[in-house]
Symmetry: C2
Subunit: 145 residues, 2 copies
């Protein structure tokens, strides 16, 4: 089973709202994890994507990326804080792209987790629509033993 499909099954098994949203883990190429969700299940009062769903898809892209990075570690992963700016409406499929952090930041995160049993890392994700950035998300995630 591909890693993308494994993450999607994990979402569906442990976070039921991801089924209702129609979240699909589209791809992971080692540098970017891409999630999509259909507009219809996530539509708002203006016929565009609901901001709550846009943020949720970005959060999920962060969890997914860290689950891939930490798959051998015995840890709990939580989100501590996040910020998002909505720059343009999403008129079709929602698409969240979480970028793998620089190798240095990941190494520092892993080392601190090994040493202290707790470490945090900031992740950036964008929401894209029709090939353009529609929203920018930054979240801080914490791994705990």
């Amino acid at each position: 089973m591909s890693i993308a499909l494994r993450i999607q099954e994990l979402f569906y098994n442990v976070m039921p709202i991801t089924r209702a949203m129609g979240v699909v883990v589209e791809s992971y190429d080692g540098a970017r994890l891409v999630l999509t969700a259909p507009l219809a299940a996530n539509i708002n009062h203006l016929g565009t994507a609901f901001g709550g769903s846009i943020n949720t898809l970005a959060v999920l892209s962060g969890y997914g990326l860290l689950w891939i990075e930490l798959q051998d570690a015995e840890c709990h992963l939580v989100i501590r804080e996040s910020a998002i700016s909505y720059e343009r409406p999403v008129r079709g499929e929602l698409r969240a792209v979480c970028v793998r952090p620089e190798a240095e930041a990941l190494t520092a995160f892993r080392e601190k987790f090994q040493e202290k049993g707790k470490a945090r890392i900031a992740l950036d994700a964008t929401i894209e629509s029709e090939g353009r950035v529609a929203a920018r998300f930054r979240g801080t995630f914490v791994a705990m033993r």
Copy 2:
């Protein structure tokens, strides 16, 4: 029909994900709009409330409050940006409380909307669980003609 029930029907009619989340508009007393959602539909991998759902419930509390405030106005309402900090896990029902802004801020918002056809306002919401604050949200919303 109570204003709380009218807002809940609006959510269900225009944002289908609110049904899947089990969002309930519990009360509006003129100062605070209170929304709830059951844990089961919004659970995460740790058996607590998923951060995405916590943020979404806060966004909805902001929309709801502004819909109540602007119910006579012909306007589109969107969220422009937001930030949230997650302070403790939510182990039961999710409960979002959006506080009505100071009268001065609301008056300035209404006047600018009347004059320019566009105005923004910041709203604060908390997510509570078992009587304690579990997350703090601030969002900037924009009304446009």
